[in-house]
Symmetry: C2
Subunit: 200 residues, 2 copies
């Protein structure tokens, strides 16, 4: 028995359309000027909506940054999962997932580091924050899945190692000492550590 | 040929004495009320020095927190190194170093998390901040040294694994999701991950 997909209602489409406009406007302004130099009013104007409406989608500039970065992160994770399917060995597969995440996080370094700070230290009950945490969990699940291609790594061990890879990524991307380093240096730093995690 | 230790001058002793008083006063007030509810004036009063003098030792409440936590961290690391000497195997030895660091970081959880946030995101050129980073490097060196008791772990690999342990500790202690968890739960979470790092 097949069930026909429900048509998406006009109200729902309208809501998604506004969210897309807000995300695009915030992404462009944040990436051009950095979070600190953009006002929510500028974002509302660029998205062509009222500030009252904007407030329904994200209450602070911090939440708007989470919204934008979550959207890029979702895309990056999808690209990484696809690339990992074609990778030869576990290290290569893990790095196929890690690389686009690093790239999207560091498209604008200071915004990316603020996003990571929010993920670790912010309020996990705020919806956009919760979504960011879900994305980190999904990233760990994707990494755990490719680690199990190595027969010596059982599911429990794969989950633990994937959580460790998360910690390695976070610290490599967030540390002030790395703020001036290009994406490639960060990716290499992470790869070096992931390599040390894997069975010889 | 032996060289007699230089006597410490009066000026130097006086300076150390003031620093000790400031550290003790800030530690007591921060631990009792939390960083947010203490003023630098209260700390100066309790240390029995003027605010102008206080300013010579630490310019902000954030720097005073770094000063206090660095002092506890230094003691914790010394205790950990000593305990690791008596540990049976590498995991036990690593955790002998990790445990007192976690305990001192979480004596007051919110202050400890603020300290970690400063270490990762703060200004590494600020002196107390630089000292905190040095302590994390010393912790990694102590961990790398005990990892090399396992003949299969060479110095380069030990250094990489120790850096990974740093990332694991940081994320376990800092994450908002762990803010309500007791020291023992954090130590177990770290031990579980460190165990997964070590050769079988």
């Amino acid at each position: 028995m097949s069930v026909a997909p429900q048509p998406v209602g006009r109200r729902e489409r309208n809501k998604q359309d506004k969210l897309d406009r807000i995300t695009a406007a915030a992404r462009e302004l944040f990436s051009e000027h950095g979070v600190d130099d953009v006002t929510t009013q500028q974002i509302a104007d660029k998205a062509d909506i009222g500030t009252g409406t904007l407030f329904l989608y994200a209450k602070t500039k911090g939440e708007l940054l989470l919204l934008v970065q979550n959207s890029s992160y979702t895309d990056a994770l999808a690209r990484g999962r696809a690339a990992a399917d074609h990778a030869e060995d576990p290290l290569e597969a893990v790095m196929a997932i890690v690389r686009p995440v690093v790239e999207c996080n560091r498209a604008q370094i200071s915004n990316g580091r603020t996003y990571l700070r929010e993920i670790v230290f912010g309020d996990p009950d705020e919806p956009h924050h919760r979504k960011a945490l879900e994305l980190t969990v999904q990233t760990e699940e994707a990494i755990a899945a490719v680690l199990q291609r190595d027969q010596r790594i059982n599911p429990a061990k794969a989950a633990t190692l994937a959580h460790i890879v998360s910690a390695i990524m976070l610290l490599s991307m967030a540390a002030t000492a790395n703020a001036a380093r290009p994406v490639e240096a960060i990716v290499q730093e992470i790869a070096h550590q992931v390599d040390a995690l894997l069975p010889d």
